[in-house]
């Protein structure tokens, strides 16, 4: 059972961190629980479907269906997150002001909630389908304690998510949406670089020097911290060159877009909403 719990935990952790950031980014938005919940349910259903059709998926595109699918899911999530951060850079300031005035409730705009619902669904679908396949193998192999392991793994993964969420809530309101926007931007850059990794594995993209560096002596990919930072900021101990290209391209596009949108939305406010700390490398 410990082995089962550990694997489930690692998969759930990835999805939980993403869901947590989405929850923080939609703080105060009415009906956001409905949207996040809907995303979770859609994601679980999607995971079951993907696992059910894993054979056909594996054989699609002459054997690289899995990579194409994963890269597609990741890039779709990048697009949705991108949409949300651009939208937020014109509405975020107003939302924070409104939250202060109304004691936490935001009436204005929930227009990008649908995008975040899909981000949650895609995260759960991707990690969940691996859990389903793994558990299927365990049950087929007659392993004991499968349900217990599943429960333990899910609870532990969700607990880390909750801890991060309540940590994030300590950020002062004034900076809150700037912070969540920065986190979403780094998350999107990391997801884009993961998509590049799948495309290299399928030989659809050149690696452009692999690995570009090796920092596994400092922080390895399979350590808990390494894995957490992998999701949060796209950390990779042995990235290929193309992964860095995808990472930086995503950052540049989003930061540039945020800057423009913010300037267009608030021409009088000189230092508008797009301010964001210099991002670390993946």
């Amino acid at each position: 059972m410990p082995g089962i719990a550990l694997l489930v935990f690692r998969e759930v952790l990835e999805a939980a961190l993403i869901v947590t950031i989405v929850c923080a980014a939609t703080r105060g938005v009415p009906r956001r629980g409905l949207f996040v919940g809907g995303g979770l349910i859609l994601g679980v259903l999607g995971a079951l479907l993907v696992a059910l059709f894993a054979d056909s998926l594996a054989n699609a595109f002459s054997g690289i269906g899995q990579e194409v699918f994963n890269a597609g899911v990741l890039l779709a999530a990048v697009l949705m997150i991108g949409w949300h951060v651009l939208w937020m850079s014109s509405h975020g300031r107003a939302m924070a002001v409104e939250m202060k005035a109304l004691g936490g409730a935001v009436q204005s705009g929930s227009s990008s909630l649908m995008m975040l619902l899909l981000v949650v669904a895609l995260a759960v679908l991707r990690e969940g389908s691996e859990v389903v396949l793994f558990l299927y193998g365990m049950v087929a192999g007659g392993a004991v304690g499968v349900l217990g392991g599943l429960a333990l793994g899910v609870i532990a993964g969700a607990a880390v998510g909750f801890a991060l969420y309540y940590g994030l809530l300590r950020i002062p309101l004034r900076h809150f949406f700037d912070a969540t926007n920065a986190m979403l931007t780094l998350l999107a850059a990391g997801l884009a670089s993961s998509a590049a990794r799948y495309l290299v594995q399928a030989d659809l993209l050149p690696a452009l020097t692999d690995p570009l560096w090796d920092s596994s002596w400092l922080l390895s990919n399979d350590s808990l911290l390494g894995q957490t930072l992998h999701i949060l900021i796209g950390y990779d101990a042995r990235p290929s060159g193309i992964m860095l290209v995808f990472y930086i391209a995503t950052l540049l596009v989003l930061l540039g877009g945020m800057h423009r949108v913010a300037r267009a939305a608030a021409p009088r406010a000189g230092h508008a909403a797009a301010a964001i700390a210099a991002p670390p490398r993946p």
Partner: protein, 108 residues
């Protein structure tokens, strides 16, 4: 962004010309173990790694040392592209059966 895509497609085009000369190596998963447990591959070139799963349960071929992961369905076979790698030893494992499914790429 457009320039980035242009660069990417040029690289893609350049790469597909040299496809076809890629050597192939094979791993078999049986009883949740890799066979061979140590696979010799050449350094400095890209190669195709075929992984065949003869077990009745799915496995995930994974390496954090050369950064690859792919699910291999029961009684079927899949492939990934690896490298070019520098000479050395690189561990890989089966994520779903880590107790037994362990192996090494010996790159030389």
């Amino acid at each position: 962004m457009r320039r980035f895509f242009l660069a990417a497609s040029l690289l893609l085009a350049g790469f597909s010309v040299q496809a076809g000369e890629i050597p192939e190596y094979k791993l078999v998963i049986s009883n949740h173990r890799y066979e061979p447990a140590e696979l010799k591959v050449p350094a400095g070139i890209k190669f195709k790694l075929v992984v065949e799963n003869r077990d009745a349960s799915p496995e995930e071929f994974e390496s954090t040392e050369f950064n690859r992961e792919k699910i291999v369905m029961p009684n079927s076979s899949t492939h990934i592209y690896v490298g070019p790698l520098a000479a050395g030893r690189y561990k890989f494992f089966g994520d779903f059966h880590q107790d037994t499914a362990q192996g090494t790429l010996l790159v030389e």
